[in-house]
Every structure is written in structure tokens, then in C-alpha cells.
């Protein structure tokens, strides 16, 4: 019992090593070099594994695209002090979101507006609300139906950066975007 199991283990590890070499894209063989000798025949047919790996590769790339789409959807925008106007520099960020949302009609998002710690605690809740509403109006102008976009405000209650300097304030004056429905299987826009 002992010998065969050890043999099988060795064969399996050799096979795994060969497969790993083939699958690794980091060290592709140069075009000019002659094709390596075909691998020694093994008792196992590897076409099923090739299909599996191909499926995995496709799935991985799709996941990466979905992650990139999700990252575009989640990208924050920032605001000037006591302002709720979408800055020109942030319009491209919102444009990408709009295109994604149009390509994924099942997706719903929540925009939360935030303020820095300066200014009145209570006014900052209204200001955060105005910032979130401004982004929603911008998206609506790009064809995103309002029923898909929820608007909330945290005022200064949830700072991204707890510091009390200009750079912290600039980070904290922001809209955050969260996918609340349809976030799986995001389609990348054309």
C-alpha cells in the first residue's frame, strides 16, 4: 500500500509542475526558439484541465473588468469649501459612472454627501445633502433615472481623514458612491 501511494504522489506533483509552467504567463517562450519537445505522455488526458484553466482565465478577466467598473462606480468626488457644485475635474468621474449606470440598468446606487469639520455641525448635514443631490442631478442629466439613485448625508459625522488640516478637510469634503442593488455581474460599457 505504501509504495503505490508514494508513486502516485510523485507523478501528481510532476504533472502539477508541468501544468504550472504552461499556465504561467510571466515567462513566455520567445517566438524564435524551437518548440520544446512534447511532454512525455501521461496516463491522464489534460484537455479538461486546459478548459478549466481557460474558463478560469476568462472568469478572472471578467472579474477584473467588473472590479474596474465597480471602482469607477465607487470613485469619490470632492468639493470646495462650503460648496456643493460639481467641480470640472470631477465631471469625468461622474461621466464614467453615468455610462456604467446606463449600461447596467439593474444597478442602484446610494450617494452620501460629507463635509469637513469646519462650519456648523447642523448646517453640514444640509451641505452634505446638497452635495449628494448635486451629483444625483448631474447623473440624471446624463440619462440616469432618479429612482435608481438614493441621496443621504452624514455631514461632518464620518470624516475620511480625522486630521484638522487643509489636506484632511479637502479629503473629507466629498461624495461617496455605494452600489445598493445589481452590483454582481457588472457589464463594462462599450
Amino acid at each position: 500500500m505504501r509504495a503505490p501511494s508514494l508513486l502516485m504522489l510523485l507523478a501528481a506533483s510532476a504533472f502539477a509542475g508541468a501544468c504550472g509552467g504552461k499556465a504561467a504567463p510571466e515567462t513566455p517562450a520567445p517566438e524564435a526558439t524551437p518548440a520544446p519537445a512534447p511532454p512525455a505522455p501521461t496516463p491522464v488526458d489534460d484537455s479538461a484541465d486546459r478548459d478549466r484553466l481557460e474558463r478560469e482565465r476568462i472568469a478572472r478577466e471578467a472579474a477584473e473588468r467588473a472590479r474596474a467598473v465597480a471602482a469607477d462606480l465607487a470613485a469619490m468626488i470632492n468639493f470646495d469649501y462650503d460648496q456643493a457644485v460639481v467641480r470640472p475635474a470631477d465631471q469625468a468621474t461622474l461621466d464614467r459612472k453615468a455610462v456604467i449606470l446606463v449600461a447596467n440598468p439593474g444597478v442602484k446606487i446610494k450617494i452620501s454627501g460629507h463635509a469637513d469639520e469646519r462650519g456648523s455641525d447642523e448646517y453640514n448635514l444640509a451641505l452634505g445633502n446638497r452635495r449628494a443631490a448635486a451629483a444625483k442631478r448631474y447623473l440624471a442629466g446624463k440619462g440616469v433615472d432618479g429612482s435608481r439613485v438614493e441621496v443621504v448625508s452624514y455631514g461632518e459625522e464620518r470624516p475620511l481623514n480625522p486630521g484638522s488640516d487643509e489636506s484632511a478637510y479637502a479629503q473629507n469634503r466629498r461624495d461617496e458612491f455605494e452600489v445598493t442593488a445589481g452590483g454582481d455581474n457588472l457589464t463594462a460599457p462599450q
Binding site: 462650503d82 446610494k110 452620501s112 469646519r118 462650519g119 456648523s120 455641525d121 447642523e122 448646517y123 448635514l125 444640509a126 451641505l127 445633502n129 446638497r130 449628494a132 443631490a133 444625483k136 442631478r137 432618479g146 441621496v151 443621504v152 448625508s153 452624514y154 459625522e157
Partner: protein, 442 residues
């Protein structure tokens, strides 16, 4: 619970009303910067004596905090009032000459008596007892003990100055997302809402029996009204969706105004919190913000904050939303943002905070003359609230390094800290609190 009773024993017909040390008159004209008139304050001593140490300590501090008296302190060993004296005329055993030498015009004598506690106000210049009362006093461990002593302090202040004190009142504030209440002298700090929530903007009902506040959830929040006796809450009609902030009770205690924030902006609404109905919209912002309503004491007008002209500034309207106009003048592009208004108990002015070179400072605007006066200049000072005497304003300041409650006497400029264990924000000062009455829980 032992009932409180007063035995009024006027010793003499009042020899004319004592001239209150009233310095409420201010110069006409525009005020620039911080400007106070200290005025002249009569000396007052709380006489030492046997027992009643906790009462004496509370009364002495309360009278000091009225800012109407120059407090004269004496060591316990100095000559106190003679004991065993009945309701005798004149000074009895009180050494009038000594306390006059120390600069006192009034002496407050507290003594245990058959009826409980006898308090006498001695007029040292006139050489006689000016006022006297005997009252039952709850045990010092009873829940209403401190408030009853504060009421006594307010009455003594009225005897001596003609104006009652504001000691029998409490403040709400937020610390760590929780609403707390404290006595006006900063003692007896007690949580009013549960831990683990984010409460904001607590305010008192006029009768002091209920509070209202925003309970912030995931970027949304209702205005809750809570009965202090039972802790029971309900969401104000019209505030159950989106974000609802800055509640305030109308003087009738039935109407509550608040600001409702949604994607159309922030606008002021009112609702009936007795019948729990009838939400009504007062402002139409069209993407501008209207918030922080505060009623005039007659209930006929509402001051509020609006961003209709750009930065937030102070406006006023009729209680039905009509006749909206600017209240505190500002120079566009030069005057800083204005926020957090509260109408004074006498109706004459509105206190608020306004940014001055990057820091909020406390300001008053005279409602009639529309003139603005600055009250603070040290550190960040924000979210002011009136004491029931109309003379003191509590606010949040970071002048000690972290956000704490400070109280300024708007006549003399004297400030004191109301120390809280954690950072404090968004204070609200009650009216004078009457004795607990049974109020039907709405």
C-alpha cells in the same frame, strides 16, 4: 415624595422695590468687536452656619452664577449669626457691621428650623431682614433635591435684585452621540438617550417635560420627541423619510418646526406633536437650504438660516412661512457664514454664530434695530443657547483645548465653563423648570 411648601413671612411692608442692578440698556449705534458694561453689583454674603452645607454650597454658587452680585466669602470660623433667635425683627445676631466692612449689602442666612429650612435675606444697609421664608426641603438624596435648592436660589436672587435667577433649569447637550442633561451649575449630568446611537440637536419643550432631537441613522434620520419621565419616543410626522434636522418647539408646546433634507434641498416644516399630525411645509428652497428654525416667544415669527443668497445667513418669516426677509445684515462676499440661531426669551434679540476669519463667534442681532453685536472672540465659539433669564448664553467653545460648554453673561462678559466629562456639542438650555406636574403622555 415630600411636598414643597412656602411659608411667606413678610417682616415689613416692602420699603419700595429694590432697584435691580439692571445693566440691560445698551448704547445705540453699531457695535464693533466685543463690548461689555460691567455695571455695579451689590456685595452679597452667604452666612456660614451649622449644617446645611450642601444647600449653602449650591445657593452660594447659584447666586454667584446670576452675575448680579459681588460674592463676599467668609471663613466658617468668623462670626456667624447667633443661634436660637426666632423670627425676631432686625438683624438678630448677625454682625451687620462686620459684613458691611467686607463689602456686603446683603447677607443670606440659612438655618434649619422646625418647618424644615428657614431662609432670611438681610439688608445690611437698612439693618433689617428684608425677606424670610420657611420651607420644607427634600432630603439631600431625593431626586428633586438639587432642583428645589436651585428654585430657592432663584427666589433669593429675586428678593435681592428684583430679577429671579435661572438656576432651576437644565441644559441638554450631545456627547459621543448621546444626549445628556445637566443642572445649570453643571452638576447631576445624566444620559437622556440610549448609548450606541447618533443623536443630534436636542431641544427642550417649553414645559421641560419632553425633548426632541434628530436620530441619525445611515445618512438619514427622523426627529424624535421623547417624554423625559417615561423615555417613550415617537417620530414627528413628516420626518419619517430622508434626513430631518434642527427641531425646535413653538412656545405653545404643540407645534414643532424642523428642517427636512432630501434631493430637492433642505426646507422647514412644522408638525403638530400633540395630535401627531399635520406636517406643513413653510419654505421652498429649490435646491437652497432652509434650516435651524427658532420661534419668537409670542410664537408669531420664526428666525431661520437660508443659503438663498449663497452662504448661510439669518432670515426671519411669519410662523406660516410668509413675509420672509433678511434678519441679520451681511456684506456679500465679506461677512462669514451665520448659523444656529436661537430667539431670546424676551423676544428682543436672536443669538447665533457667525464665521469671523475662519472661526465661528457668538453674535446677537437686535430684532428691532437689526444691529449686530459680537459676544466672543477667543477660540471657536458656536451653537449658542439662551438661559431662561435672557442674560446668559451657553455655547460650545474649544478655548480650553476641546469642545466644552461655556456660559457668558452678556452684560458683564464674564464667562464660566460647564465642565463635562467628554467633548460636548449642540447645547440647549431649558426654561425655568416648574415642579413636576402630571402631563398626559401624548
Amino acid at each position: 415624595m415630600k411636598r414643597f411648601f412656602f411659608l411667606l413671612l413678610p417682616m415689613f411692608a416692602a420699603a419700595g422695590t429694590l432697584a435691580a442692578q439692571d445693566t440691560t440698556r445698551v448704547d445705540q449705534g453699531v457695535r464693533v468687536g466685543v463690548d461689555y458694561r460691567p455695571g455695579v453689583r451689590p456685595g452679597l454674603v452667604v452666612l456660614p452656619g451649622p449644617g446645611l452645607d450642601s444647600v449653602r454650597a449650591i445657593v452660594g454658587r447659584d447666586l454667584d452664577y446670576t452675575d448680579r452680585f459681588e460674592m463676599v466669602t467668609v471663613a466658617d470660623a468668623s462670626s456667624g449669626p447667633a443661634t436660637g433667635r426666632g423670627a425676631a425683627e432686625g438683624g438678630g445676631g448677625v454682625n451687620y457691621a462686620l459684613y458691611k466692612t467686607l463689602g456686603a449689602e446683603f447677607a443670606v442666612e440659612l438655618a434649619e428650623s422646625a418647618g424644615g429650612l428657614t431662609v432670611r435675606l438681610h439688608d445690611l444697609n437698612a439693618g433689617r431682614v428684608r425677606n424670610q421664608q420657611t420651607l420644607g426641603i427634600p432630603s439631600s438624596t431625593a431626586s428633586d433635591f438639587r432642583l428645589e435648592v436651585h428654585r430657592l436660589s432663584d427666589e433669593i436672587a429675586r428678593w435681592a435684585s428684583g430679577v429671579a435667577g435661572a438656576a432651576a433649569s437644565r441644559l441638554l447637550f450631545v456627547s459621543g452621540g448621546r444626549v445628556y442633561r445637566a443642572d445649570s451649575d453643571g452638576e447631576a449630568i445624566t444620559p437622556a438617550t440610549p448609548a450606541g446611537q447618533t443623536a443630534l440637536s436636542p431641544v427642550w419643550s417649553p414645559d421641560g417635560q419632553r425633548i426632541a432631537y434628530t436620530q441619525l441613522g445611515e445618512g438619514r434620520g427622523a426627529v424624535l420627541v421623547q417624554a423625559l419621565s417615561s423615555g417613550a419616543t415617537f417620530a414627528v410626522p413628516g420626518s419619517q423619510t430622508a434626513l430631518n434636522i434642527t427641531p425646535t418647539f413653538a412656545p405653545d408646546g404643540r407645534t414643532l418646526a424642523f428642517a427636512h433634507s432630501d434631493e430637492r434641498g433642505t426646507d422647514i416644516y412644522t408638525a403638530n406633536v400633540i395630535d401627531r399630525c399635520c406636517a406643513q411645509r413653510l419654505t421652498v428652497g429649490r435646491y437652497a437650504d432652509n434650516l435651524s428654525p427658532t420661534f419668537s416667544p409670542d410664537g408669531r415669527r420664526i428666525a431661520f438660516i437660508s443659503t438663498r443668497a449663497g452662504p448661510p445667513q439669518l432670515y426671519v418669516m411669519a410662523a406660516d412661512g410668509t413675509d420672509q426677509e433678511l434678519l441679520a445684515p451681511f456684506d456679500f462676499g465679506a461677512t462669514g457664514s451665520s448659523n444656529a440661531p436661537e430667539w431670546s426669551p424676551d423676544g428682543a434679540s436672536v443669538v447665533f454664530h457667525r464665521e469671523v476669519t475662519g472661526s465661528p463667534q457668538i453674535f446677537l442681532v437686535d430684532v428691532g434695530a437689526r444691529r449686530v453685536r459680537q459676544l466672543t472672540s477667543s477660540g471657536r465659539n458656536e451653537d449658542p443657547t439662551w438661559a431662561p433669564d435672557g442674560r446668559h448664553v451657553a455655547f460650545i467653545s474649544d478655548r480650553s483645548g476641546r469642545r466644552q460648554i461655556w456660559i457668558v453673561d452678556i452684560e458683564t462678559g464674564r464667562v464660566r465653563q460647564l465642565a463635562t466629562p467628554g467633548a460636548a456639542r449642540l447645547p440647549s438650555w431649558s426654561r425655568r423648570l416648574g415642579r413636576t406636574t402630571v402631563v398626559p403622555n401624548p
